[in-house]
Each structure stands twice: as structure tokens, then as C-alpha cells.
């Protein structure tokens, strides 16, 4: 009743060919190109002060964006998953809205607000504050594109867990904060970590939104993806792919951690369904 061995092999072969062309090859070429001139050139490219500044900036942006996203994500998931109120489905779709907005538009909206000719531009200038072409703009654009990630992972998980655990803790006299820290947080820790991982990968790798607000001032407002673009456009292929290889490694680590969590998380969900 199943397909014959030949059909099966043909289908597997077709799927694997497609995946090789579109996934394996692009990943492989990053490392091959980065190392075409050997380790020496690879290490020299990464030791370049502009590249180091770009790595630093990327880490700073991710470190600022993560806690904000975690607080907003947990709060959002708590409000959506734990209560019934009017307009809930609208609010849920609004959380997902950044997924269907072009990253370039995510950057554009902040230029319109805070750019030199933006709505708040003159005010910011009079106060001596700079948001666009500076760190705050990069953080804002990153927050826009990463906003849905954590809430999206937490909402279905918290909904499936229900409210019983928290209600029990409260009945037994635990304070609301204690209930959250000792009951809710341990319950959702894996899906939270999963969301943080995805959010972080996107934050460190975001290109379009950040490109629009950064101004690409070398050594100052270039993140790693922007540094890749600059090097690539200057025909510094090895250097561009060297920086790219670091981000590709980050992607591989993210995938490995994600796969591990899916495995853990699946066990927990299975255990939960059993009782």
C-alpha cells in the first residue's frame, strides 16, 4: 500500500537535491570562500579594527534588545494566554504584525520619526540627541523586527499549560510574584529559551532594518551584517566571508540548540499530555 522502493528513492533524492542546492551549498560556500587564502588571511580579516568594532556593536545591540523583548514577550504572553477579553485576537495579530512588514519599512518608520527631517527631528536636534545613525536607532529597528518572536513561542505553550498551577499556588497563599517566579517561569523556561534563541539570531543578523537607520559609519554604526555588505562591495571577498562565517557559526549553534530544545521540550509536552 506504500510507494514502491523506486518511487521512494526518487522522492527522497528529489527532496535532498533541492535541499543541497538551496541550503547546503550556500552554507558551505561561506566557509570555503572565507578560507580560500588560508587561516592567516582569515584571522587577519577578523582582526581588522572595523570588523572588531562591528562584532562589538552587534553584541551590544543584541544585549540591549534581548531583555526588552523578554519582558515584553512574557508580559504579552501572560496577558493573552491567561485571560479572556474582547479584542484578544486582534491584539494577537498585532503582535505578529512585524512578520509581514518588510525590514526596510521597519527601519524607514524610525527615520520618519527621528531622522533629521522626521517628525521629532528638530526637537531631538535642539536637545542634542541622536537616534538615527546612532545606537538607539539600531536598537529600535532591531526591536521592531524581533518583537513577535518570544510571545509567539510562549502563547501556545502557556495556553496549553492552563491556569491551574498558578491558581493552586495562589490558593495556598503564595504572593503573585512568587507564583510567577516559582510556578510559571519554571513551567515555561524551555519555550522561553527557545524564543530568546530565535530572537537573538534575528537580532544579531538583521540587515534591512538596521541598514536603513545606521548610516553605515565605519567602526561606529556598522553591525556585522552591514560590515559584510561594505567589505563585499569593496571586493574584499575573503574579509566579507570571514565576518559572514562568524554569523554562519552563530546560525549553526542556534540550530543545534534549537534542535536540542525541541527534543527536551517535546518530552515535556508529552509528559504534560500524559497526566
Amino acid at each position: 500500500m506504500r510507494e514502491g522502493a523506486l518511487a521512494r528513492r526518487l522522492l527522497i533524492g528529489l527532496a535532498l537535491t533541492f535541499l543541497t542546492l538551496f541550503l547546503a551549498l550556500p552554507l558551505a560556500i561561506v566557509f570555503v570562500e572565507a578560507l580560500t587564502r588560508g587561516w592567516q588571511a582569515y584571522r587577519a580579516a577578523l582582526a581588522d579594527p572595523d570588523s572588531i568594532a562591528a562584532i562589538r556593536l552587534t553584541l551590544i545591540v543584541a544585549a540591549i534588545a534581548a531583555p526588552i523583548n523578554i519582558v515584553a514577550g512574557i508580559a504579552g504572553a501572560w496577558a493573552i494566554a491567561k485571560y479572556e477579553f474582547r479584542g484578544k485576537s486582534l491584539l494577537t495579530s498585532l503582535i505578529d504584525l512585524p512578520f509581514s512588514v518588510s525590514p526596510v519599512i521597519a527601519g524607514l518608520v524610525y527615520v520618519l520619526l527621528f531622522g533629521a527631517q522626521g517628525y521629532f527631528g528638530p526637537f531631538l536636534k535642539s536637545q542634542g540627541l541622536q537616534i538615527i545613525f546612532a545606537l538607539p536607532g539600531i536598537v529600535l529597528a532591531t526591536l521592531f523586527v524581533t518583537f513577535p518572536f518570544i510571545a509567539r513561542e510562549l502563547i501556545p505553550h502557556m495556553q496549553s499549560l492552563g491556569n491551574a498551577d498558578e491558581e493552586a499556588a495562589l490558593t495556598l497563599g503564595a504572593s503573585p510574584w512568587r507564583t510567577f517566579l516559582m510556578v510559571t517561569l519554571p513551567n515555561i523556561k524551555w519555550s522561553l529559551l527557545y524564543g530568546v534563541l530565535l530572537c537573538n539570531a534575528r537580532a544579531m543578523g538583521e540587515f534591512g532594518a538596521v541598514a536603513v537607520v545606521s548610516g553605515k559609519i565605519r567602526g561606529l554604526t556598522t553591525t556585522m551584517p552591514l560590515q559584510i555588505e561594505i567589505l563585499y562591495n569593496e571586493y574584499m571577498g575573503v574579509a566579507a566571508f570571514a565576518v559572514a562565517s562568524l554569523l554562519a557559526l552563530l546560525a549553526l549553534v542556534t540550530l543545534a540548540a534549537k534542535t536540542f530544545l525541541e527534543w527536551r521540550y517535546a518530552d515535556e509536552i508529552a509528559a504534560m499530555r500524559r497526566h
Binding site: 533541492f18 535541499l19 551549498l25 477579553f85 519599512i105 543578523g205 540587515f207 559584510i228 540550530l255 534549537k258
Partner: protein, 286 residues
């Protein structure tokens, strides 16, 4: 916290709950959402409207803007369709067949979610440029992918690849083998079973993946610009037009192109969602 819990049950627009923290969590969510997403998007619409109807019409009907929108939406639809077919195939192979390295391949499908778009962009350019790994193999036959509209398509296939696989996989995995067995016992051919037993429950999920892949592809920028060559009227995508307008300090023009893109893509997503709702109704399940 105690201030927030004091509001429990005070309003009629939500059901009573013994859990505290609604005010606090709802407040944080709405504040963050407004500051980060909603107010900035409102500024976009406001700025676009400030251009005035004539300027908006002139921009919307300009050949360059129309060519860019046609390319962005056309390539995104085509890429999502290709991903629909191959996504179904990959999900099927991953769920139904066992082969060495299956779990590894399963994990690798998510690579486009994790790999930064700029990295994907230069990697795809290195592969499909006329002097690249595959580009140089195709060049003798007069086939060019890099620096043409076909390059845009390749990049959009890459970034949309996981969506259909990931929406279809759980549906296929939960499907009961008994239905197929029953159909086979009743004498249905394998094709008939695939067509009338397996495909109907899978299609709505595949459609969801298709819409997600399309929505992502329409606005994609980073992975496209390196491989597209960005020739005006030929391989210039709509998000790039926004960047060019911004570089010329034409904020209103950039906002108009942005609003046009959002309007078109929301209309299309709405259309696909209605189509999917109809599909679910016709196929008779939720």
C-alpha cells in the same frame, strides 16, 4: 503589582479571573507594542498621506515603481509556490520515509530562519553569479541567474523554504494510518489515496505556510540585493526603491512606496486567508 491586581473583575470587557497581573502585563504589552510597532507604522501612513493625492498617484503609476512592485510580488508568489510544492515533498519525505541522516536534514531545514540574510545574500551571489560555482556551469548555455530577476527568485526560495515544511509536518505526522489502510482495502489506487485521503487535510496547513513564505518574501531585502544586480526596471525590488528614496532624502516618496507595499501585501494575505477559510470549509474540518 498590587495596584494591578486590585483591578480584577472591575471591567466588563473581559472575563473575571483569579489570576493577578492582568493590568500590569496588558499594560506592558500595549505600551511596548504601541511604542515599537504601532506608532511608528502610523507615522509611515501619516507621512505618505502628507505627499498629497497627486504625488501619490504619480509615484504609484511611475513605470519604475510599478516594475519594482511587479517584481517583488511576482517573484514572491512564484517563490512561495515553488516552496509549496517542494515543502510538501520535503515534509512528506521527512515524516514518511526513513533514511540515513533524516534527523540531521530535519534540523537543517530551519537554516534560512537562523542564517542572517546578508550572509545568505553573498553566499547565493557567490554560487549563482556568472563566475560562481553553479553560475559558471550554466553560463555556457546562456543561462544567467545572478544579477537577473531569476536571482531574486533564487533568494526568495531560500528564505521561504522552511515555512511550508514546518506547517505541513505536524499534520502529516498526526494523520491516522487507518484511513489510508481503509482506502487501500476498499481498492483505491495509491494516487487516489494521495489525492483524496492525504492531501485534503494537509492543504490548509500548506496554505498557511504558503502565506507565511509569501509575506516574508515580499519584503525581503538582505538576501536579494547581493544576487539581484539591482538594475532599474529589470531586477530592482520594491524595498530597494525605499532605500534609494531615503538616500535622496525623499522621505514622503519612501513612505508612499512603503504604504503601497504594505497595502498590496495585506490585501493579498487577506485574499489567501479567505481562500484558505473556504478550503477548510469545503474539505469539511476545522
Amino acid at each position: 503589582m498590587s495596584a494591578a491586581s486590585g483591578r480584577i473583575g472591575a471591567s466588563s470587557w473581559r472575563e473575571r479571573s483569579v489570576l493577578p497581573g492582568f493590568g500590569l502585563s496588558f499594560g506592558i504589552l500595549v505600551t511596548a507594542l504601541s511604542l515599537i510597532v504601532l506608532i511608528p507604522l502610523a507615522a509611515l501612513v501619516l507621512k505618505a498621506a502628507s505627499a498629497g493625492p497627486e504625488a501619490i498617484w504619480a509615484l504609484a503609476s511611475s513605470p519604475r515603481v510599478q516594475a519594482a512592485l511587479r517584481l517583488s510580488f511576482g517573484a514572491a508568489l512564484l517563490a512561495a509556490s515553488i516552496n509549496l510544492v517542494f515543502g510538501l515533498l520535503i515534509a512528506w519525505v521527512l515524516v514518511r520515509y526513513d533514511f540515513p541522516g533524516r534527523r540531521f536534514v530535519d534540523a537543517a531545514v530551519d537554516l534560512p530562519f537562523a542564517l542572517p540574510t546578508a550572509v545568505a545574500g553573498i553566499a547565493l551571489a557567490a554560487i549563482y553569479a556568472p563566475n560562481g560555482w553553479i553560475g559558471s556551469l550554466l553560463a555556457p548555455f546562456g543561462i544567467r541567474i545572478g544579477y537577473t530577476a531569476a536571482g531574486v527568485l533564487v533568494a526568495l526560495i531560500f528564505i521561504g523554504l522552511p515555512f511550508v515544511v514546518r506547517t505541513v509536518q505536524p499534520v502529516l505526522a498526526e494523520m491516522e494510518a487507518e484511513l489510508e489502510e481503509a482506502a487501500a482495502l476498499l481498492g483505491a489506487s495509491r494516487w487516489r489515496i494521495i489525492w483524496s485521503v492525504i492531501l485534503p487535510p494537509v492543504l490548509p496547513a500548506a496554505m498557511t505556510g504558503f502565506v507565511l513564505a509569501f509575506a516574508r518574501a515580499v519584503g525581503e531585502y538582505g538576501s536579494v540585493i547581493f544576487i539581484a544586480g539591482n538594475v532599474p526596471m529589470v531586477s530592482e525590488i520594491a524595498p530597494l526603491l525605499i532605500v534609494i528614496r531615503l538616500e535622496q532624502f525623499d522621505y514622503a516618496g519612501a513612505a508612499v512606496v512603503g504604504v503601497l507595499m504594505l497595502l498590496l501585501s495585506f490585501l493579498l494575505i487577506l485574499f489567501f486567508n479567505l481562500l484558505q477559510a473556504g478550503l477548510r470549509r469545503r474539505l469539511g474540518h476545522v
